[in-house]
Symmetry: C2
Subunit: 345 residues, 2 copies
């Protein structure tokens, strides 16, 4: 009998590893392949960044509470985020949309209104796409192309011991927003006349439904002549991304729980759901903030930017990746992360 | 009440036009946007071509008779074809796969075996991707990046009156193959023990299940210093593509039915299905041959290549696009083409 391994048993990263063993590179223009936020191609001395991210109905979003315009916006932003995570600037996208006939032309126009809005805000051109039908559901795949100077590419692999571990913005908000939306969905199913009051959840709902990518941070790095030693965007949760970064850089880290940046609304909501805010900040996905490391010499510059928080530092690989509690005890850092195949969401 | 336009009423091209009105170009690097086989971007004087094509289960393929390895191969080839249609060379791809848990890890490995085989044959690097679950079915979207010298880009829009209209290979084979597969599927459903005999349909089944893109033709153009004035790949059928090319170039054409290149097996099979071979050659999709125009001065070179057939010539726009029958009567050329939203397949 043929072997059959279920997708859910190996997870997304396991699958990527199985489908993408080490490959020979065939073209000179391919300078960085699979394994970072974006691939890097070099044409006539110029580096082009390329990344692809998809959103699937029932997996990444629920049409019950996702406005199509927001969905189009988010589908773009999560792709732009991958280019920023390489210290690049997104320039062009191509879009593939597959929609069942449950969706009307007007619905797709609404989706495109969000895509257009994101492209306007982030100064990106839509240069191609493919729109086709599906037998069920809505599928959006976007490929983004960006640019970066070759000596300014920031990979996941450049962190070195004693570098500072930094994060932008605040964490756990998108996850808190998702919890609220899922709760109201259940209430709505029980009583379709129910009108949820979202007024005290505005920030976290926006974090979930209409996130932003860190354009200003990349511009600030340039203006202030700061070049992170490594960087990754936070889509799967801080814990998971920190481990990715440490693994790629072959280093360890100490991450201080009390330094985790948490917004008040996020904290209040997570507590409402009996989730420890730190746990939400470490494992909640979809914040699209940047996690990066800088050399200690850049500390004076970094501390002038209110949007950056130093949450720890890089250590030698032999020391492992650890969380430091407020009581100064050490816990091994583990990733819960998102595994769509295990349907944890 | 809100307006609701069904997707099936406006077709793929109607939808593309509605979702992509004329847009301002925001980045200098965007030199050619939506509307050709690929977009063209210019970075440091080098032109990069980008194109995206998706394949959706139940729309573009049927798992009953599509081996996963062939599917992976075809998903790549249809993308490479778009780059060749701009006179370029494909160099890198990114892949998005969304699969329900009906598919095992081994099934996706089989799909990737086909993708790897195509990339090896066409000398292309896989530089990124996104693999996620779906609630039903299999979805594959590939974005291809290629290169071309700026003065060698061939668009759809360059045909001029008196140019020769040429086509590579032969036509209608992929459509004939699809007819055979659909027939055997019906027989198989009625009697699951039935083993179809495909031995007399080998060529057309390969045309449908494992098509090739026209790499050699682009190399021949270069070696022989031939630069087509316009070009498009034949994915939606010759009639449809000819009209696209004429519309983009603002010209008309005369296309001789008796010049249509037809393979013997294709002709025999179409007749078996009571379809006039000419009609199959004009409207059958998925041949992935190239349709192009050349200046008459290139005729001496063109005629030395057995793989190229001159099927007509370009006229002034005012004369329209016409078919010339063997009896020398003129019929207006119309596109049947593929409209996935109308479920013609």
């Amino acid at each position: 009998m043929e072997e059959r391994t279920e997708l859910e048993t190996i997870g997304e990263f396991g699958l990527i590893e199985r489908l993408n063993p080490k490959r020979e590179i065939r073209n000179e223009s391919t300078i960085l392949g699979i394994g970072d936020d974006a691939a890097a191609l070099k044409y006539n001395g110029k580096v082009i960044l390329v990344s692809t991210d998809a959103m699937v109905e029932g997996v990444h979003f629920d049409m019950v509470y996702t406005p199509l315009k927001h969905l189009g916006y988010k589908a773009c932003v999560i792709n732009f985020s991958d280019i920023y995570a390489m210290n690049g600037t997104p320039k062009q996208i191509t879009i593939t949309i597959s929609a069942s006939n449950r969706f009307s032309v007007e619905a797709l126009e609404e989706l495109y209104a969000g895509i257009n809005l994101a492209c306007e805000k982030y100064n990106v051109d839509i240069v191609g796409g493919d729109t086709c039908s599906s037998t069920s559901g809505l599928f959006i795949s976007i490929t983004v192309i960006g640019e970066v100077d070759e000596d300014k590419i920031v990979k996941r692999s450049g962190a070195k011991p004693n570098d500072l571990l930094c994060v932008t913005g605040d964490l756990g908000g998108a996850y808190a927003g998702l919890l609220v939306l899922e709760r109201e969905k259940v209430t709505f199913k029980a009583n379709p006349n129910f009108q949820p009051d979202f007024s005290t959840y505005e920030y976290i709902l926006e974090r979930q439904l209409k996130p932003e990518a860190q354009k200003e941070m990349i511009e600030w790095f340039k203006e202030n002549d700061v070049l992170p030693t490594s960087m990754i965007d936070i889509s799967d949760g801080l814990a998971s991304e920190t481990l990715h970064l440490c693994k790629s850089s072959d280093v360890g880290c100490e991450l201080y729980i009390e330094k985790l940046p948490l917004d008040y609304e996020t904290t209040r909501t997570l507590e409402e759901f009996k989730i420890m805010p730190d746990v939400g900040a470490l494992n909640g996905g979809e914040d699209y903030e940047l996690l990066f490391t800088v050399d200690q010499k850049d500390f004076e510059k970094i501390k002038t930017n209110e949007n950056i928080k130093v949450i720890g530092y890089i250590t030698d690989n032999s020391q492992g990746s650890n969380l430091i509690t407020p009581q100064n005890t050490t816990i091994e850092l583990r990733a819960q992360g998102w595994n769509h195949y295990r349907k944890e969401e």
